[in-house]
Symmetry: C2
Subunit: 429 residues, 2 copies
């Protein structure tokens, strides 16, 4: 593979979690970052990064990439209508092989807007892995699991997930277990998943306390909040990633903090579905590791992490009437550096010696960023995603000067349209 010497750029890295900007040269050798060339006899392709910010690629910690098909498909409707009458009929009629193309459609938008790693969750495990393999993205692919007993009704899915793990897992593609939610998984299944996750050294992610209804139902059924419930059955630990956590009550945040689990906030999705605003400033104050996700496009309706970062800061400043809430250095860290701890991977989320070369190049001369009075601020308050002009993942350019190098856009559009036409015909019947 090609090695690179990247000159003249402004490099954003984190030192003990605080963002630092420096003018420095980066060497990319065998897909890893170096500050000095380790091999003096090598030939490097020189990349001129003048007027570019080089920063760690954004990490989208919770999404459902295959759902990109349903962008703007069910908006401004109540949640029940959204799920049962709009989203589920499409899923019921979508051929499995279509998810390869609809996932790739999502990856196209992620790459364009500077995301290098995503954590996926759904039932199209294999198609997601194949698409990530082909686009070159780094992915943590979560097998969605529901039901009563992992070894009975969920067994084929689970064993298939293990087979795919065996087949595809690499430095760039990893597999995690994703029991859907406490209301769609039995206590037994959740305990089985926790045990299997430990056994196979897999992370686990689940949706938690997303809506008022979920919390109320749990209080009725178990006499405790969803967080306390998961804690009591032994599900929570530092290998756990909790998506949403919108409706926090009592000592929920203390429990999460003590468990070492990470939270992924999905501010656009929580707002758009009317679920509310998660108490992220309180999570921050408790010292919980908070990351950012876009959720799927059916509830966002974009996979643009820079949009998500902006919204996260502004919604809390506005709702809390606090101009100091969610400052830009915290937001930028949550979108990159914090993912490293959540994913137990020290090689991503920062620009350090030996880290994976997952870096993005941001055009500091973009009209939305000029003048560059404060580059960290501009990522949070000014960038719209279009300023990302090149993306490197694992040392390989997947976008360069705006051109996608691993995705055939026309082909993806053609396939997505073909399958969606099929779904529309089926659902109309």
């Amino acid at each position: 593979m090609t090695d690179y010497k990247i000159i003249n750029g402004t490099v954003l890295s984190f030192q003990e979690g605080a963002p630092v900007l420096e003018q420095k040269t980066l060497y990319i050798e065998d897909g890893r970052i170096a500050f000095f060339p380790a091999h003096e006899d090598r030939t490097y392709e020189t990349v001129d990064a003048s007027r570019r910010l080089i920063m760690p690629g954004l990490v989208n910690m919770h999404t459902h990439a295959y759902m990109t098909l349903m962008r703007n498909y069910a908006d401004d409707v109540p949640f029940q209508e959204w799920l049962f009458n709009r989203v589920m009929p499409v899923e019921d009629h979508l051929p499995t092989e279509a998810a390869y193309w609809t996932s790739m459609l999502g990856m196209m938008e992620m790459i364009r807007t500077g995301t290098t790693t995503f954590v996926d969750m759904h039932m199209y495990h294999r198609q997601s892995a194949l698409a990530a393999r082909d686009t070159g993205m780094r992915a943590f692919i979560g097998r969605g699991l529901v039901g009563e007993d992992l070894y009975k009704d969920g067994y084929s899915r689970f064993s298939q997930a293990l087979e795919e793990k065996e087949e595809f897992e690499s430095g760039r593609l990893r597999f995690i277990l994703s029991p859907h939610a406490i209301y769609s998984c039995s206590e037994k299944l959740l305990c089985q998943v926790a045990e299997e996750a430990r056994k196979h050294h897999m992370l686990k992610q689940t949706h938690l306390s997303e809506s008022v209804t979920e919390v109320e139902d749990c209080l009725k059924q178990h006499g405790k909040t969803p967080v306390r419930y998961l804690q009591d059955i032994g599900f929570l630990d530092s290998e756990t990633i909790l998506a949403h956590c919108v409706q926090m009550q009592g000592d929920d945040l203390d429990i999460i903090r003590a468990s070492g689990a990470s939270i992924v906030t999905n501010v656009a999705s929580n707002a758009k579905l009317g679920n509310g605003i998660a108490p992220v400033p309180a999570m921050q104050a408790k010292g919980i590791n908070v990351c950012i996700g876009t959720d799927g496009t059916a509830s966002n309706n974009t996979l643009n992490m820079l949009r998500e970062m902006n919204l996260l800061s502004l919604i809390h400043k506005g709702a809390g009437r606090d101009c100091m809430a969610m400052p830009s250095d915290y937001i930028v860290r949550a979108a990159t550096y914090n993912a490293s701890a959540a994913l137990h991977d020290q090689q991503i989320g920062n620009i350090t010696e030996g880290a994976c070369a997952d870096i993005i190049f941001v055009d500091l001369d973009a009209p939305s960023l000029f003048p560059n009075n404060n580059i960290i601020s501009s990522l949070c308050y000014s960038a719209n995603g279009s300023e990302v002009d090149s993306v490197m993942i694992d040392g390989r350019f997947v976008m360069r000067k705006g051109e996608l190098l691993t995705i055939d856009k026309e082909r993806v559009y053609h396939e997505v349209e073909k399958y969606f036409d099929h779904v529309k015909k089926e659902t109309a019947q």
Copy 2:
């Protein structure tokens, strides 16, 4: 000037305020829109708008374009620090002629992200007019006014504004009067401005009820809310545009509704400065004409109306836990069509026979918009601004296929940097 025949596009227009999508051919003749060619003997340049949405240009109803210099200059700091220690020292040292370039910098971002008309407010009246003249943007330029007596301390500014009106006013450049706020203008001055506005057939815009402090001070001083105060002194009428209106109390909204005044909501700025969230759903329910503004970049920090539209919808869905709040058709209307009533100009904000050809071309194949399940939704929930590929104002292309045609970006950057370096030297002393 060139006439155009625009074929194969999907046209978004409003019929009685409701958005309608149609495949139709547009003719642009002498800067006006026609659905059929009025002059059969003319030569039209054909524009192929396949896979493009053609829609009315966005109208940014409240901004301070010259402030673009201060993008990300003072973030995550309290309001007093922001205004007195960061923003005002820059303004004090900025040479007047610099505002031509800093305003043009703002217009560059506005054009790129699909804004064709903006309402400006500040003391750099002439520089704003010159820059709008040269960029080709449609502008309503508001002379900022403060003080005790329009004919004494404010007279030179006011009379200068009238002279500039005389010199520059055209179909595309208009002038309005912009008393800054009730706390920086005396009752006398506000009444004088209202009278002069009527006399000269000028609109007026002011900041109103932006912060809790402003409302509390007014209640103490006058025993009534800022809205009631302006109503009682005869300031409010249908030629009045009220920026912000965040802190509404009692019958404030009824008073505004009855006066016929329009409101410009500035959701990002209100959030970012910690002023809160304006009750826009209540304004909508009352039938008040609501428009959208970005405010200046020092408190936003972008002039991207599509970002503003998204934020406006999501912040209300989240804060109100209401997935039906601020639906996309309302948002798109507020960013275009509603400006027509606020500005008393039937020729902008819609695509109708004889209207000004202020239209933008949105790339429906952009990765952020595909698949096009709902184009109106996509403008509100998915677009980030980069999908705008061409912009026509008054029948003239100012951006075409991403290329700015009226602005020399390098020159603008050079001049802005030069002046800002000067300001930094001065303020450091």
